[in-house]
């Protein structure tokens, strides 16, 4: 098990190093420097600015300094917002994004698994067809469209929810729906197809023969196996939620990290872009790593073989 997780961890570290290096050199490859767009600055001042951000040193030195700072969790200073470090910006805004994202993940898992189970139980019946049609629609409508539609119908036409901002608990409803539609659809489809296989398997028949209640069979024996693909989906789901949050935060005007990311892209605020990119990557890799660990505990087959993961 240690070797298995160690290998995964090694992959993650290499990926992060590759991403950090690639980000650094891509940003350096951009023609001009971050200050060329502004009005002509006197050369002395410009030299001072460049020295302040360490941009006057040779590229190799800059890279080493950047990597060294990265290991100390210092992501540099934002180039557009005065005197604010990237770490501060992330610290201030990530709480909001994390809250919305976590709610969306919890809602997606619960609703998705429930829909999938119901569809599998009523295989080829009305509920199954309806659930799967809703799921394919959920996969096909982009989250920014869903967000805008919700805002229009439930915020403007029938003003049940506020259109912008995040003050009361009700304000979380629309962003959560917009964020979780895609994951719900994915999880429902995954759960359904696995449950269809699980429900016809021998051990379910054994459980029935033992006289277990349908309830116990479904939720204890069935779900434990049916949930496995959902666990593997946790990593990609985090990616979906993060990318989704970028647009959903823009639509609903939430003070989260996604908004800063979009802003930094349009401002060409390179340190902020690099910092948030790496931060997002770290979160994603962490989610994947947690997935690998959870997988070991959820998969009954791995437990039976004495905690030894054969992979």
């Amino acid at each position: 098990m240690a070797r298995y997780l160690g290998g995964k961890l090694f992959n993650i570290i290499i990926s992060l190093l590759v991403l950090a290096t690639a980000t650094f050199f891509l940003m350096k490859a951009v023609p001009g420097d971050p200050f060329t767009q502004e009005k002509a600055i006197p050369p002395e001042i410009k030299a001072n600015i460049m020295a302040h951000y360490g941009l006057d040193k040779p590229l190799g030195t800059q890279y080493l300094v950047y990597m060294k700072n990265l290991f100390q969790l210092d992501l540099g200073e934002s180039m557009k917002s005065q005197n604010r470090s990237v770490t501060t910006i992330i610290k201030e805004s990530f709480a909001t994004s994390a809250k919305v994202g976590a709610i969306a993940i919890i809602v997606s898992v619960i609703v998705g698994i429930y829909l999938g189970m119901m569809a599998a139980l009523r295989h080829k019946k009305l509920i199954d067809n309806a659930a799967m049609f809703i799921a394919v629609i959920g996969i096909s409508i982009p989250n920014f469209v869903i967000g805008a539609l919700l805002q229009y119908f439930l915020g403007v036409k029938f003003p049940i929810f506020t259109v912008q901002g995040l003050e009361g608990p009700l304000d979380y409803v629309l962003p959560t729906i917009a964020l979780s539609t895609l994951p719900i659809a994915f999880i429902a489809r995954l759960t359904r197809s696995t449950m269809l296989e699980v429900l016809t398997s021998d051990y379910i028949r054994t459980a029935k023969a033992k006289g277990l209640s349908p309830h116990a069979i479904l939720w204890q024996h069935g779900l434990r196996n049916g949930i496995l693909p959902v666990v593997t989906y946790l990593g990609p789901m985090t990616a979906n939620i993060i990318t989704g949050s970028v647009v959903v935060e823009r639509i609903f005007g939430l003070p989260g990290l996604g908004g800063h990311f979009v802003e930094s892209i349009s401002n060409r605020d390179y340190t902020l872009i690099m910092g948030i990119t790496i931060f997002y990557a770290v979160i994603l890799m962490a989610a994947r790593f947690i997935t690998d660990i959870v997988y070991i505990f959820v998969d009954p087959r791995i437990k039976v073989s004495g905690g030894v993961v054969k992979k």
């Binding site: 590759v18 394919v136 629609i137 996969i139 096909s140 982009p142 469209v145 805008a148 892209i265 997002y280």
Partner: protein, 315 residues
């Protein structure tokens, strides 16, 4: 001695009994009565029976034809401003209305569909070519080279693709080429893994051994024998990667990283419409629904293809 005798007795008895074994007619029992059909014919037949899937296909064809024809027959173009007629509601002149500069939205929307389709198909095609070759070599070569290639793909895959796209967009400037390149950098990996998995399963089959014994080279075995046998999953993956590329393009255009004005993709149109959505809902509803319908049609058709090619679903 005794067993031999017993056998003779039993066979004699059998010949007299009403359950006598009839002489086997080998020539007849070997005749195949069912019409021989390849996997493809079978899958296609299954697909044609699936009304749900075929409706997806028809919608798809209709959208492609409309995207080609509509901008050609319309008397308007996509860039002429008409500042007296901004934000017109859909009417007999402007079927989809006009935008903030009085440009005809019918033409702009269908041109947007065209761009979305081009991005989707091109990205899927590039993924197909790189993914099949890389995945084929990864699966067919030995453990060492295959392992290194797999590790490389794994590391690249761990990097979230939208971040790559955004970074490249920042560096290379916005536009159609950037988006397609950026989507292709990581897009091929899924395809390569699917091909690798198939090849790993297939490469120990007898026909590979037969080809080897007849002196076929490694690349001939890979490209002439193995890859044609993995076409089913490849086609499914391509079909399903088109809508994800279309989504990625719309997403980037929505963030302002995509196609630049005066050209417009569906994502750009939606992005421009968001700020005035409450006042002029149709400006956003039309491109948004076309985007969703296109992706829906691809997803429905792709799902059905998957079922049709899945041997487990055979009845």
């Amino acid at each position: 001695m005794s067993t031999q005798l017993k056998d003779v007795v039993t066979s004699e008895q059998a010949a007299n009994s009403p359950f006598a074994k009839l002489p086997q007619r080998h020539t007849e029992s070997e005749i195949i009565t069912a019409e021989s059909r390849s996997t493809f014919q079978e899958s296609w037949a299954k697909l044609r029976k699936n009304k749900y899937a075929m409706s997806g296909l028809y919608v798809l064809i209709a959208i492609i034809v409309l995207a080609i024809v509509c901008p050609m027959i319309s008397p308007y173009n996509s860039y002429t401003n008409d500042l007296d007629n901004t934000y017109l509601a859909p009417n007999s002149d402007h079927w989809f209305g006009t935008d903030n500069l009085g440009r005809d939205l019918f033409v702009r929307t269908w041109l947007g569909v065209r761009i979305s389709l081009i991005v989707g198909f091109t990205a899927a095609l590039i993924d197909l070519m790189i993914g099949v070759v890389y995945g084929g070599i990864m699966g067919f070569s030995g453990k060492r080279l295959g392992g290194v290639m797999n590790k490389f793909a794994e590391i690249l895959y761990a990097i979230p693709y939208l971040l790559v796209v955004i970074l490249l967009g920042v560096v290379m400037g916005n536009g159609l080429t950037t988006i397609i390149i950026a989507l292709s950098i990581t897009g091929w990996i899924t395809m390569s893994w699917i091909v690798r998995g198939q090849i790993l399963q297939l490469k120990n089959q007898e026909y590979v051994l037969a080809a080897q014994s007849m002196g076929a080279s490694g690349s001939r075995i890979l490209f002439r024998h193995l890859i044609p046998n993995t076409l089913g999953p490849i086609i499914v993956t391509v079909t399903l990667s088109v809508p994800s590329a279309i989504f990625a393009e719309a997403f980037l255009s929505f963030l302002g990283l995509g196609v630049q004005t005066p050209a417009a993709s569906l994502g750009t149109l939606i992005s421009e419409a968001v700020s005035v959505f409450t006042l002029y809902p149709w400006v956003m509803l039309i491109p948004a629904s076309l985007l969703s319908i296109t992706m829906l049609a691809f997803n429905i058709f792709g799902d059905a293809l998957q079922d049709a090619f899945d041997p487990k679903m055979k009845k």
